[in-house]
């Protein structure tokens, strides 16, 4: 018998994951959305705040939304202090999460390289590296030659239509296996006695005046001391039932995966200018993401030219990818805010909390969101790290504009 193909397989999942719970009539906290954010929030509510009478309600299958559809990049090298603080908090949690959950999350700190293709992108990159370092985040500026050392298959030829002029490099950044992260959290929650209720769609809210006291679901009403939304692209639909309009737009975000390939790509490379980001995941498949499709959609599908453009960029940057094959494409629904930063905090309704607008950045923030959101829910006040992410900023004008200078949304 030939040996197992090295690296083409993943560690086995444990024999016990979580029980499929039926909803009780009432909980201290109901979390709407059983994705990474909902699960992590429940986890830290239990672990940091001792609250375990929690239901996580998921309309489909657990972690089947963007958690199952993202390209799993984890980094914290954001431009603005507010974002950097939150994402770095998340990254530090990531660094201990595998041990804490006792689950192979396959968190691989292989570094993330954000390419610059124009003089302005170089300026922006240097600016961001400087800000990151002063914020205590590991970041380096690499010139084109150093970028090629970090990723030898990267085409740094000056003949490219938009040559690589350099890039920012965060060594502690990397990827993790999304399902394992969700299941690790879910298993821990199951052991903590939290109810994970699948196939339970929230259709509205129970109110007492301006207070939200529960949710209506496809499996009946559920009373709740507090209700926390963690529904990503579907947040607007839920908020609409309360007449609460949010500065959110839901867009398709497409990604694709290749067949399993021998290792060629040691890191994660992102290019905002040519709209592609790519890593080689644990089994050897190339995982590529594109820019978001421009229009509002809940349809979980995008347009084909987005895929073509993404692959043109990929083959330009990585000529060796020419005959790799796309074996599956898919799309998620991402909720995007005007400043490309999330919205977290209280709402005009007592007992109702929101966490949304993560756009393409939700996965990497998972433990950080859980930590801070749990604090917000438990104490009914924003966590200091997420205070700037409140809805008020759209009124005051104190936006945290991460698409201007940071230039990289993923």
């Amino acid at each position: 018998m030939a040996p197992r193909t090295p690296g083409a397989d993943l560690p086995d999942h444990p024999d016990r994951l979580w029980r499929a719970a039926d909803p009780e009539r009432s909980y201290d906290v109901v979390i709407v959305g059983g994705g990474g954010h909902g699960l992590a929030t429940a986890y830290y509510l239990a672990v940091n705040h001792g609250i375990t009478d929690i239901a996580v309600l998921e309309r489909g299958w657990l972690a089947g939304g963007n958690m199952a559809r993202n390209t799993t990049i984890i980094r914290s090298n954001y431009l603005w202090d507010e974002s950097a603080g939150l994402y770095e908090h998340a990254l530090k949690l990531w660094e201990g999460l595998e041990e804490e959950l006792d689950y192979p999350l396959l968190f691989s700190q292989r570094g993330v390289l954000n390419l610059a293709h124009s003089l302005q992108e170089v300026r922006d990159g240097v600016r961001r590296v400087g800000a990151n370092r002063l914020n205590g985040i590991d970041a380096e500026w690499l010139d084109a030659e150093q970028a090629a050392e970090a990723c030898p298959i990267l085409n740094t030829s000056p003949d490219l239509r938009y040559p690589v002029l350099g890039g920012t490099w965060q060594p502690r950044a990397g990827i993790a296996k999304h399902d394992h992260v969700a299941w690790g959290l879910a298993r821990a929650l199951d052991l903590l006695g939290v109810d994970l209720v699948q196939g339970c769609e929230v259709t509205g809210f129970e109110r007492a005046g301006d207070r939200v006291v529960g949710v209506q679901t496809t499996r009946g009403p559920i009373r709740a001391g507090r209700v926390a939304l963690a529904a990503a692209g579907h947040t607007s639909v839920l908020a609409d039932t309360l007449g609460l309009r949010l500065p959110l737009q839901s867009h398709p975000l497409q990604a694709l995966v290749s067949e399993l390939l021998e290792p060629v790509h040691p890191t994660v490379v992102m290019s905002n200018a040519v709209h592609v980001y790519v890593s080689q995941a644990h089994k050897g498949e190339l995982v590529l993401g594109a820019g978001i499709d421009s229009y509002n959609s809940y349809g979980r599908r995008g347009a084909f030219p987005t895929i073509e453009r993404e692959l043109a960029a990929a083959v330009e940057l990585f000529p060796v990818f020419a005959r790799a094959h796309a074996v599956r494409t898919w799309a998620g629904v991402v909720d995007v805010t005007p400043d490309a930063s999330a919205i977290m905090g209280r709402t005009p309704f007592e007992g109702l909390y929101i966490n949304c607008g993560w756009g393409t950045g939700g996965f990497k923030a998972t433990p950080g969101v859980g930590w801070c959101y749990a604090h917000t829910i438990a104490k009914d006040e924003p966590h200091p790290l997420t205070e700037p992410f409140g809805l008020e900023r759209f009124t005051t004008g104190a936006l945290i504009d991460e698409h201007g200078a940071a230039g990289v949304a993923h």
């Binding site: 639909v237 500065p247 737009q249 229009y295 959609s297 809940y298 347009a303 030219p305 005007p338 759209f394």
Partner: protein
């Protein structure tokens, strides 16, 4: 690839168009008369329904005219909307 009915050039592939989001968002007539919160609603808050959505497109690669369609944000099915539709002030 959606086939979007430009009222002037006829149906064209979506890549020819620029998306404009919710239609019928009018700028407050007297911006000074609205509060900061109301102004923020005009600037940043847009409908984001799942299902039928009245939205704007501009035929960037064609006649460069803005127009309104009603599109289902789940199925992507599109219906044209009459040009005579009333513009509503949402603020």
């Amino acid at each position: 690839m959606m086939l979007i009915p430009c009222p002037w050039c006829g149906p064209r592939n979506e890549v020819e168009f620029h998306y404009g989001g919710q239609a019928d968002v009018a700028c407050p007539r007297d911006p000074d008369a609205v509060s900061d919160a109301e102004w923020a609603r005009f600037l940043f808050f847009r409908a984001n329904p799942m299902g039928a959505f009245t939205e704007r497109w501009m035929h960037r690669a064609g006649c460069r005219r803005w127009f309104t369609v009603r599109r289902d944000t789940v199925t992507h099915e599109i219906r044209p909307v009459g040009a005579e539709q009333e513009r509503a002030v949402t603020v």
